[in-house]
C-alpha cells in the first residue's frame, strides 16, 4: 500500500465504517460434524471508534479477532465478509494480508510474557515489525523508532531499556512493550484481546488509560475484547455481547448498561460483583450447576 492510496482511504466520509463485518462464520470442520464457534456475526466500527466485544469463555470473541487478522488456528475456516476501509480482507491472498497485519491493523494479546520471544531484546522485536513493513529502513533507524515507540507508551529510560529482554520487565511493562510494538507502525486499527486480564488492577488502570490516550492522539480505531464488563464500560463507546458464537445484543455502551434488552446481558450484568456495595442477598442466579455444559464456566 502506497502513501497516496492511504490518503485516499482516509478521505472517505466519516459515516462510512472503518471496519464492516458481515455474516462472519468461523468453524472447525471435522470428519463427523462442523463445530461453529462464530455464527453469522455482523458489526460495524466507525472511524476512530472504540468497540468492546464482551463474552464469557467459548463465546467466540477471540476467534472473531483472529478471523479479522486471518490468524485462525490450523483447521479453522471462515466465511462472510470483512471490509476494512475499502479492502475486502477475506479476498486478500496471504502476501497482501501480511501488508495489512501489523502495519494497518495491529494486535495486542493477553499474556505479554508468552507473547514476546524470550530470545530477543524488546527493541529487536519492535524494530523487526517496523523493518518488515518499511523497506529499505536501516537497523539504526528502526532502533530509533523502537525507542520512540517505547517513549510514547511512557517507558522511562527507553534508550537503555530498548536493549532489555522481555523477562527483565514486569508484567505491566511487557504489555507496554506490546503496545509500543503495535504503535510503531501507526496502525489505523488496534485489536486488543484481553490486554489487561493477566495484569494487576493498578497496572490495568494504567494500560487502559494508555489505550484511550493513544486513540485520542492518533485517531486509531480500537476493538477491545474482554470478559470484564466494567473494563469495556470505561473504555469503549460501542459494545457487542456474544455468547456461544452468537451476537446477543449490540449498541452504544450506555444503552447496553442501562437498558439491556437480552436476558443474557441482564444476567451478566447481575453477576458482575460490585465494588461499591455488597449485595447480601445476591442475585437471582441458580445455585445448582446442573445447567452448565462442560465447555462453560472456565477461562482457565
Amino acid at each position: 500500500m502506497t502513501n497516496s492510496q492511504r490518503d485516499q482511504t482516509l478521505d472517505q466520509p466519516a459515516d462510512r465504517p472503518m471496519l464492516s463485518v458481515r455474516d462472519l462464520t468461523v468453524a472447525f470442520p471435522t470428519a463427523k460434524a462442523t463445530n461453529e464457534v462464530v455464527h453469522h456475526l455482523s458489526f460495524d466500527l466507525p472511524p476512530g471508534g472504540a468497540l468492546g466485544i464482551v463474552g464469557e469463555s467459548g463465546s467466540g470473541k477471540s476467534m472473531t479477532s483472529l478471523a479479522i487478522m486471518n490468524l485462525l488456528p490450523p483447521g479453522a475456516t471462515r466465511s462472510g465478509s470483512i471490509v476494512f476501509r475499502d479492502t475486502e480482507l477475506t479476498a486478500l491472498r496471504e502476501p497482501a494480508m501480511r501488508t495489512v497485519r501489523g502495519s494497518r491493523i495491529a494486535m495486542i494479546f493477553q499474556d505479554p510474557l508468552s507473547c514476546l520471544n524470550p530470545y530477543y531484546t524488546v527493541g529487536d522485536q519492535i524494530a523487526e515489525a517496523y523493518r518488515a513493513h518499511r523497506h529499505g529502513v536501516s537497523r539504526r533507524q528502526a532502533h530509533r523508532v523502537a525507542i520512540e515507540s517505547m517513549e510514547r507508551v511512557h517507558i522511562r529510560d527507553a534508550a537503555r531499556r530498548v536493549n532489555y529482554y522481555p523477562h527483565q520487565f514486569s508484567g505491566g511493562m511487557r504489555q507496554r512493550v506490546m503496545i509500543a510494538m503495535a504503535l510503531s507502525m501507526e496502525p489505523e486499527l488496534i485489536i486488543a484481546d484481553e490486554p489487561t486480564t493477566a495484569l494487576d488492577v493498578t497496572v490495568q488502570a494504567q494500560i487502559l488509560g494508555l489505550l484511550t490516550e493513544i486513540r485520542e492522539n492518533t485517531g486509531a480505531g480500537l476493538i477491545l475484547i474482554t470478559h470484564d464488563l466494567a473494563v469495556v464500560s470505561e473504555t469503549t463507546d460501542q459494545i457487542i455481547v456474544m455468547r456461544h458464537g452468537d451476537l446477543v445484543e449490540s449498541g452504544p455502551v450506555e444503552q447496553i448498561f442501562s437498558e439491556p434488552r437480552a436476558d443474557y446481558t441482564r444476567m451478566l450484568l447481575d453477576a458482575v460483583p460490585r465494588i461499591d456495595d455488597a449485595i447480601d442477598d445476591m442475585r437471582t442466579l441458580p445455585s445448582s450447576a446442573a445447567h452448565e455444559t462442560p465447555t462453560e464456566g472456565a477461562r482457565l
Partner: protein, 329 residues
C-alpha cells in the same frame, strides 16, 4: 559473567577430584592384585612382595592416591626406572607403555569417528525432524517417525554387520577397509570411516529427529509465534527467528553431552570395524584385564563428560538471555 565462569570452574575442579578419588577407590578395592598379574606364571610369594614394594602397593591408601594424583601433574617413576611423564594416568605393564601415550596414539581415530558421526547425525536429525514438523501428521511425517523407531531399536553391532554384509560383500559399493593414512589415500580413508560414521550416527539421528520435530511443533504453538505473524512478518522470518531459534537451542545441551561421551571412545563400533581408537583400546584392556588402561579410559570418559557439561552450560548461558541475564523485576 566472569564470576559465573570462575564459580563453574572451581566447581568443576572439585567434581574432577571426586571423580579421581571414586575411580581410584573402585580400582583399589575391587581389582585383583596387579602384582600377581605382573609376576606371571612362575611366581613365588617373595617375588610378589618385591613387586608390590617396587610399585608402592604396600603403602597406605592415601599415600598411593597422592602419588597417583601428583603423577597426573608432574609425572612419576614406577619401580626401577620406568618413567611416566605428566600427565601420568598409569603404566600398562602388559604393553610396556604409559596409558597416556597409548591414548595419545589412539585419540585421533576416536575423534575422527566422533566428529564424522556427529556431522552426519546433526544433518540427518535436524533435516528430517524439520520435515516431520512441517508435515505434521501427513504420510511423510509418519514415515520418518517409523524410521526413527527402527533407528532407535536396531543395536549398533547388528547394524554394523548388516551394513558390512550389504554394502561391502553383496553390493560392493564400498571397498574392503584397508589401513591407510589420510595423506596417502584420502578417498580410501574416507570410505573406511563411512560405515562407522553411519552406524554410530543412526541411533543419534533417530533421537535428534524426534527431538527436533517435537521442539519445532511446540515452538510453533508458542504465543510469540502468533505475535510474530500478527506483525506481518514473512513466514521465512517467523520460522527462522521465532520457531527455529527457540526449538534448536535446547538441542545444543544434548549435543554437547552426546559428543563428549563419544570422544571417550565408541567401544562397540570401533571394535566391530577394527578401528584402533580409545574404545577398542578399552575393550582390549578389559579382555586382557589391563587395569591401568581400564582406569585411564574411565577417567578420560569422566573428564570429558564433566568438561563437556561445563562447556554446554557456558554455551547455553551465552545463547539463552534468560539464563545470561537475571530478571531485574
Amino acid at each position: 559473567m566472569t564470576r559465573q565462569v570462575l564459580k563453574r570452574l572451581a566447581g568443576m575442579v572439585v567434581v574432577l577430584l571426586l571423580v579421581c578419588l571414586f575411580t581410584y577407590v573402585i580400582f583399589f578395592v575391587l581389582s585383583p592384585d596387579p602384582a600377581v598379574q605382573i609376576c606371571g606364571k612362575n611366581c613365588t610369594p617373595a617375588k610378589i612382595d618385591q613387586i608390590r614394594d617396587n610399585l608402592g602397593l604396600n603403602r597406605p591408601f592415601w599415600a598411593q592416591f597422592w602419588t597417583f594424583l601428583s603423577g597426573l601433574f608432574v609425572g612419576r617413576t614406577y619401580g626401577e626406572g620406568i618413567q611416566c611423564s605428566a600427565p601420568c594416568l598409569g603404566y600398562s605393564f602388559q604393553s610396556s607403555q604409559s596409558v597416556t601415550s597409548m591414548m595419545v596414539q589412539r585419540f585421533p581415530v576416536s575423534l575422527t569417528v566422533a566428529v564424522g558421526a556427529a556431522v552426519l547425525w546433526l544433518l540427518a536429525g535436524l533435516v528430517s525432524g524439520l520435515i516431520g514438523a512441517i508435515n505434521e501428521g501427513k504420510f511423510i511425517d509418519r514415515f520418518i517417525s517409523g524410521l526413527t523407531f527402527a533407528g532407535m531399536s536396531i543395536p549398533n553391532y547388528v547394524l554394523a554387520l548388516v551394513l558390512q554384509f550389504v554394502l561391502v560383500v553383496t553390493l560392493r559399493w564400498l571397498p574392503f577397509p584397508q589401513a591407510v593414512a589420510f595423506g596417502d589415500d584420502p578417498v580410501q580413508w574416507f570410505l573406511n570411516f563411512l560405515m562407522p560414521w553411519i552406524v554410530l550416527a543412526v541411533g543419534y539421528a533417530a533421537s535428534y529427529t524426534r527431538l527436533t520435530r517435537a521442539n519445532v511443533i511446540e515452538a510453533l504453538q508458542e504465543n510469540y509465534v502468533r505475535t510474530a505473524r500478527s506483525k506481518g512478518l514473512r513466514p521465512s522470518v517467523v520460522w527462522r527467528r521465532h520457531a527455529l531459534r527457540p526449538a534448536l537451542t535446547p538441542i545444543v545441551t544434548i549435543f554437547g553431552m552426546d559428543f563428549a561421551g563419544l570422544l571417550g571412545g565408541a567401544v562397540i563400533t570401533e571394535t566391530v570395524f577394527g578401528l584402533n581408537g580409545i574404545g577398542k583400546m578399552a575393550s582390549d584392556a578389559i579382555t586382557k584385564n589391563d587395569q591401568p588402561v581400564i582406569m585411564g579410559v574411565t577417567l578420560l570418559a569422566a573428564f570429558l563428560v564433566v568438561v563437556g557439561n561445563m562447556v554446554v552450560d557456558l554455551v547455553y548461558t551465552a545463547i539463552d538471555p534468560r539464563v545470561r541475564i537475571g530478571a531485574s523485576a
